[in-house]
Amino acid sequence: MRALAIVPAYNEAGNIRRVLEELRREVPGWDVCVVDDGSTDGTGSIAREQGALVLRLPFNLGIGGAVQTGYLFARQHGYDVAAQIDADGQHDPRFLAGALEIVSSGGADFVVGSRYLEAGGFRSTVVRRAGSRYLSWFLRVRCGARVTDPTSGFRVAGRRAIALFAANYPSDYPEPEAIALAIRAGLAVREIPVAMRTRQHGRSSIGAGRTLYYLIKVSLALLLLPADRRRHAEITG
C-alpha cells in the first residue's frame, strides 16, 4: 500500500516546516509531495530542505490546479492512496491513519475529514458554519451527498478517486464541487470526524467579505455540474 500526502502550498513559508515535520512523525511510511503553487517566499526551498518532493508550478494556479497536480503525480506513480493536507497547519495528520484504513479496506473511495461530526477543535466563525450547513444541504438535494463539512480541505482518495481527480478537478473553490463530482462518478464518499486548528501564520485565503461570493459561485457550480455521467464513468472505469 503506497500512500502520498499532497500538500498544496502558496506562500506558506511560516507554516510549511512544522506541517512537514508533523507528517514525518505521524505517518512515517507516507511519501510527501508539496505542490508549490508559484510561491514567492521560498516555500518550495524550505520544503525541499525538509526532504519533501516539491512540484513547483511555474505560475499560481489556485488551490484546484495545485491539488490536481498532486493527483496527477499520484496517478503517474501508481499510488494507492493520496491525501490532501493544507500547508497552513490546520489539519492534524493524526487522522490520516484512520482514513487510510477505510480507503484501503474498500470502505470508501474518498474520505472527507469533518470538523462537525464530533465536538472539539477549531470550528470557524458562525457565518462560515451557516455556509457549511447550507452547502451540505445543497449537496444532499443536488446529488444525494451526505456530508457535514463540504468545504473541508482534509481529504483522502483511493485509486478510483485519484484517477477521477487527475482527469477532472474543479478550479476555484473546488472542495464542495469535488464531492459532487465523486458522487456522480459513482464513488463511495465517507466522512470521518477530525479536529482542526486555527492557522499558525498568515491569513486564510477567503476573507469574511468573500464568503457570500463563495456561496453563490459554489451553488452555481453545483447547479451547472456537467450532466454527462458516462464521461466520468469512463474516466474512472
Binding site: P58, L61, T69
Partner: protein, 128 residues
C-alpha cells in the same frame, strides 16, 4: 444606388472604412497574428455590414421585417448583437486557453520533478 437614408459621401466613407477594416483582418491572418478560425466572425460581420452600406434598401426591408420603425435603430441593435457574439466567442477561446495553460503548468511541474530525480540518479552513477 443613392438613397435618402445614406448620402453618397457617407456611403463612400463607410464603405472605405469597412474595406480597410476587412483588409486589416486579412493582413493579420496572413501575418499569422490572428488565426483564421478566430478571424471568421470578424470577416463575416464586416462583410454583412458592407452589403448593407452598398444596398441601404436592404436595411429598410430588414427593419420592416422585424418591426423596427427607424432603420438605423435596427442597424444599432444588430451591431450590438454582433459585438456580443464576437465577445462571447472570444471568452470561449480564452476559457480554452486557460484550461490548456493550467494543464501545461501542471505538466511542467511534473516534468521538472522527474528531471531532478533523473539527474540525481545520473549524478550518483557518474559523479562529476
Amino acid at each position: 444606388m443613392t438613397h435618402p437614408l445614406l448620402p453618397l459621401e457617407l456611403q463612400i466613407v463607410a464603405g472605405a472604412t469597412l474595406v480597410a477594416f476587412f483588409a486589416w483582418v486579412v493582413y493579420l491572418v496572413r501575418l499569422q497574428r490572428l488565426s483564421l478560425r478566430e478571424s471568421l466572425l470578424w470577416l463575416v460581420s464586416t462583410g454583412v455590414v458592407l452589403v448593407f452600406v452598398l444596398y441601404p434598401r436592404l436595411l429598410e426591408q430588414l427593419a420592416r421585417a422585424i418591426a423596427v420603425q427607424v432603420p438605423s435603430n435596427a442597424l444599432f441593435a444588430l451591431a450590438i448583437l454582433y459585438l456580443a457574439i464576437n465577445v462571447l466567442s472570444l471568452t470561449i477561446a480564452l476559457s480554452n486557453a486557460l484550461v490548456r495553460a493550467r494543464r501545461l503548468g501542471q505538466e511542467c511541474a511534473l516534468l521538472r520533478a522527474e528531471l531532478e530525480a533523473v539527474r540525481a540518479r545520473v549524478d550518483k552513477l557518474s559523479p562529476r
